[in-house]
């Protein structure tokens, strides 16, 4: 089967993808940009240049039209290359489906470590209460929508855990030394 002039021999998926997905995103991103107060003066200049270029096509000569189009391109290029990707990214985040992220409870790795390293008494008296406190504070912060604080609580809980276990091990070692040194 031969393709006629002006037809694609097979579906051009790239063109299809661009026209259905990317082009509306770029258009909406540019609309966002034109609505923003920050870029308003720039768009005013662009409007003026566009109008001037159209007038130039009827009243002025070819050279002045080229100069005006060049100015238009000069203004458009930094706008698209510098700001466009940010707005496009923002729009993509809005458009793409959000995935729900399931993560394990904070302290589950610490619990595993405590199971592996400590005796049941140490785990029950020292490791578990620290993890429980950390989880309590962490969920409290999450309910208050304070993600940064929740992250910090996680870090602080880990520090407290290792500090406590290290301290406990040292104290236990010193007590053991005294017990061994005691005359029988």
């Amino acid at each position: 089967m031969t393709a006629k002039r002006g037809e694609f021999s097979q579906p051009n998926w790239l063109l299809l993808f661009f026209s259905t997905r990317i082009e509306p995103l770029i258009t909406s991103a540019l609309e966002d940009m034109s609505r923003s107060r920050m870029f308003r003066p720039l768009f005013d200049v662009l409007d003026w240049l566009y109008v001037a270029a159209r007038r130039g096509s009827t009243r002025l000569g070819f050279t002045s039209k080229v100069v005006q189009l060049f100015l238009l391109a000069l203004f458009m290029a930094p706008l698209i290359w510098l700001v466009g990707p940010f707005l496009l990214g923002k729009r993509l985040i809005q458009v793409l489906p959000r995935r729900t992220h399931v993560s394990s409870a904070p302290g589950s790795f610490l619990q595993f470590l405590a199971d592996f390293l400590c005796s049941s008494k140490t785990k029950q008296d020292i490791a578990d209460p620290i993890i429980a406190d950390m989880q309590f504070e962490y969920y409290d912060a999450l309910f208050a929508h304070r993600k940064a604080k929740a992250g910090w609580i996680r870090v602080r809980g880990c520090c407290a855990f290792f500090h406590a276990l290290g301290l406990h091990r040292i104290l236990k070692g010193v007590a053991g030394l005294f017990q061994q040194a005691r005359p029988r």
Binding site: I126, P129, A132, D133, F136, R156, C159, A160, R182
Partner: protein, 119 residues
């Protein structure tokens, strides 16, 4: 009563109860809330950072071994998530030791003032 290493009394019943500064602070905080139990983290917050998160449970565990405090796990609510927290309260023995420690500290201060160390 036997006298053991470095002149210490070895018989556990005869051993003089000892109380470190941090242990005394914990007893003071727990006794400051009469009849109530406190979480470890609550103790840290109430002490205004004189107690640290990393050391509080080691100290509380030691105090539990010495029978100054006793603990229990909190009842877990249906909608609660995470491990149950541990609640601590002072025992009668812990209270008596703390009172004796306060008396000894007062006597020590008075004695120190008398011999002119208060300058």
């Amino acid at each position: 009563m036997e006298v053991g290493f470095m002149g210490r009394h070895q018989d556990s019943d005869e051993r003089v109860p000892s109380l470190s500064g941090k242990e005394a602070l914990i007893l003071e905080l727990l006794l400051g809330k009469p009849g109530a139990e406190m979480y470890g983290l609550e103790l840290v917050h109430t002490s205004r950072n004189r107690l640290k998160r990393g050391t509080i449970y080691v100290t509380l565990s030691r105090m539990e071994d010495k029978a100054y405090v006793e603990s229990r796990l909190e009842e877990k609510k249906a909608d609660a998530s995470g491990l149950p927290r541990r609640l601590y309260r002072v025992t009668g023995y812990g209270k008596r030791v703390f009172e004796a420690w306060q008396l000894a500290r007062e006597a020590g201060r008075r004695h120190f003032a008398e011999i002119g160390g208060g300058r």
